[in-house]
């Protein structure tokens, strides 16, 4: 199209872009998430509030009360009940959503494995917050990172716009792969921050995400059983199928990212990772979530590239290897720690790079736990250390 577009349609196109730009509204990340949920038309939303997710459930409850969201809201007595109700509803074959954080997702732990084992495409927002003790209501990513073995797809977003966009994409990804999916947004830093968000119109979302048609569901007139006993003979077969579904999910996530771009003009890297300023660079920072924004503001000045990991599960091993091909050293900055080992993302990045020929040096940075602010000075020091190529794990 470059250069070949007639003047009139260029003008039209510019008008369209202006219209899209004007459609941006200043809202909190929590509100953007609720808007996405409403547009995706789930049938059942079991909810239990917890800081800093509460703004999501409050806004959804308001939408239900004013009639603009037509879903059955189930008020439950705990997060374990919320996710259990999701399992029941999703098994009946309806689109199902919930949201939680911190102690809430920890309380769901047992049922998370059941949701994924039953292959139920539940979508869950996680407003990331630390885990007690000591009690702390602020942001880090320990809560969802600790659930990485539960068989759920996990996508981490950088800002309110991406929280909106990823929620819309995620219902499609979950339903196609039959894998439950978490959209992880940093508590407060995204959930409570007001910033510009472009909300897609309802007809675009309906076209992108048609009504959910389950392949299998519970139905009294055609009874089946779900979650029956699997003997040692069969149990591993189930796990192998879940593993294969995760491997296939990488292709689905990439394709849905492209399809979404065609309705919204927005996409995020290849859907699994997003690289910035990486061409010709010898050093890169690897991170997840909103802190990528702070890093982003310094990449050019510091002369380093960035690989933002959007998908923690399925882990984009091949994409990271490819992105690191010409890199001498990478620093993995993360808001979680596997106590007695190192940061979880660090372990996985290092493992992915172990068998590659180039094998860059990998530094680890544990930062921002329990809401500790990651300042521009912190980021400058991190980038300086990455450029020094001295492998170690440090606490910022």
């Amino acid at each position: 199209m470059r250069g070949g577009m007639p003047a009139e349609s260029r003008k039209e196109r510019k008008g369209e872009i202006m219209k899209k730009k004007e459609a941006k509204k200043i809202m909190s990340g929590a509100h953007a998430v609720a808007e996405a949920v409403r547009l995706c038309r789930p049938d059942v939303i079991p909810m239990y509030p917890i800081t800093p997710q509460t703004k999501i459930s409050e806004t959804i409850a308001e939408m239900s009360a004013d009639g603009s969201l037509d879903a059955e809201i189930i008020r439950v007595e705990s997060e374990q009940s919320a996710i259990s109700a999701c399992v029941g509803a999703s098994a009946m074959g309806v689109r199902t959503y919930t949201a939680t954080a911190s102690q809430g997702i920890a309380l769901m732990h047992e049922i998370l494995f059941i949701a994924s084992g039953l292959r139920l495409p539940i979508v869950m927002g996680v407003a990331n917050r630390s885990l007690s003790a000591p009690i702390n209501i602020w942001n880090d990513q320990q809560d969802s990172v600790s659930q990485r073995d539960a068989g759920w797809i996990q996508l981490y977003v950088e800002n309110a716009q991406e929280a909106f966009d990823t929620h819309v994409q995620t219902f499609k990804i979950a339903e196609e792969t039959r894998l439950p999916t978490m959209v992880c947004l940093d508590g407060y830093l995204i959930s409570h921050t007001y910033e510009p968000v472009n909300i897609l119109d309802a007809s675009s979302v309906s076209r992108f995400l048609p009504r959910y048609k389950p392949k299998v569901s519970l139905n009294p007139s055609n009874p089946i059983a779900m979650g029956t006993l699997a003997t040692p003979e069969h149990f591993m077969e189930f796990k192998k199928q879940q593993q294969e579904a995760m491997e296939n999910a990488t292709g689905v996530i990439k394709r849905v990212n492209r399809e979404y771009a065609s309705v919204s003009e927005r996409s995020y890297g290849n859907g699994l990772i997003e690289t910035t300023n990486l061409d010709g660079k010898e050093h890169a920072i690897i991170t997840m979530g909103s802190v990528a924004g702070t890093a982003r503001s310094m990449l050019e000045k510091e002369g380093i590239g960035m690989i933002r990991v959007k998908a923690m599960r399925p882990f984009p091993k091949e994409d990271i290897i490819k992105a690191c091909q010409n890199i001498r050293s990478v620093g993995v900055l993360e808001k979680d720690v596997s106590l007695g080992s190192e940061g979880s993302l660090y372990t996985e990045v290092r493992s992915a790079l172990y068998n590659t020929g180039s094998k860059p040096k990998v530094l680890g940075f544990i930062a921002g736990l329990g809401g500790k602010d990651i300042t521009l000075d912190d980021m400058k020091n991190i980038m300086k250390k990455i450029k020094s190529e001295k492998e170690n794990v440090s606490w910022v």
Binding site: K24, K25, I26, I137, W138, N139, E158, N159, D186, Y188, L189, H192, T193, Y194, E195, P196, S290, V291, G293, T294, R296, S297, G371, D373, I374, T375, L376
Partner: protein, 175 residues
């Protein structure tokens, strides 16, 4: 990029003020970001909230450490060292107070409490101080602030707050 830090006490509306300012600047075509200092919310405790306004998209997520403007809603906070923490040579303090203070930075004081008591009948000055900010700095026009108030509040509350902002704006304009 302009960075603003608001100081108030829990319940005085510093967080809401920054939200309204961000929305108003957004209506004016700017990129904006507003967020609280995520403290434990307690009525009466000192709270901080932040706002960034820029012509370019804002990606940075850290707190504001070197603000261009500081807005102080409660005169009793003026002795807190954090009011002038990180201020640059040309930073400006806008304080709700009926007397001048001995900040070494450029300071503008305005008696928003008396005005709010007159218009609202209550000592709630967060919106009035937005009128002062718009009047003194000219960084955000009056009209989008009024539109946001209409969207954010209902009926009489919206009307009175609009009157309050407009009066604070007119009394401080171009100072």
């Amino acid at each position: 990029m302009i960075e603003i830090r608001a100081h108030g006490r829990g319940g005085q509306g510093a967080v809401t003020a920054m939200e309204i300012l961000a929305k108003a600047a957004g209506l004016d075509g700017k990129y904006t970001q507003a967020f609280p200092n995520f403290g434990v919310e307690r009525r009466g405790a000192p709270v901080r909230a932040f706002c960034r306004i820029s012509d370019e998209p804002i990606t940075i997520r850290s707190q504001v450490y070197e603000p261009d403007y500081v807005i102080v809603l409660d005169p009793s906070l003026s002795n807190l060292p954090e009011i002038s923490s990180g201020l640059k040579q040309d930073s400006v303090i806008l304080i709700n107070s009926n007397n001048s203070h001995n900040f070494k930075e450029k300071t503008y004081h305005f008696d928003a409490t008396t005005l709010a008591l007159d218009v609202l009948g209550k000592d709630i000055v967060n919106t009035a101080m937005l009128g002062v900010f718009a009047g003194v700095t000219g960084l955000v026009p009056l009209e989008p602030i009024l539109s946001v108030l209409d969207e954010r509040f209902n009926g009489k509350v919206a009307e009175l707050n609009k009157q309050l902002v407009e009066r604070a704006y007119n009394e401080t304009r171009g100072e």
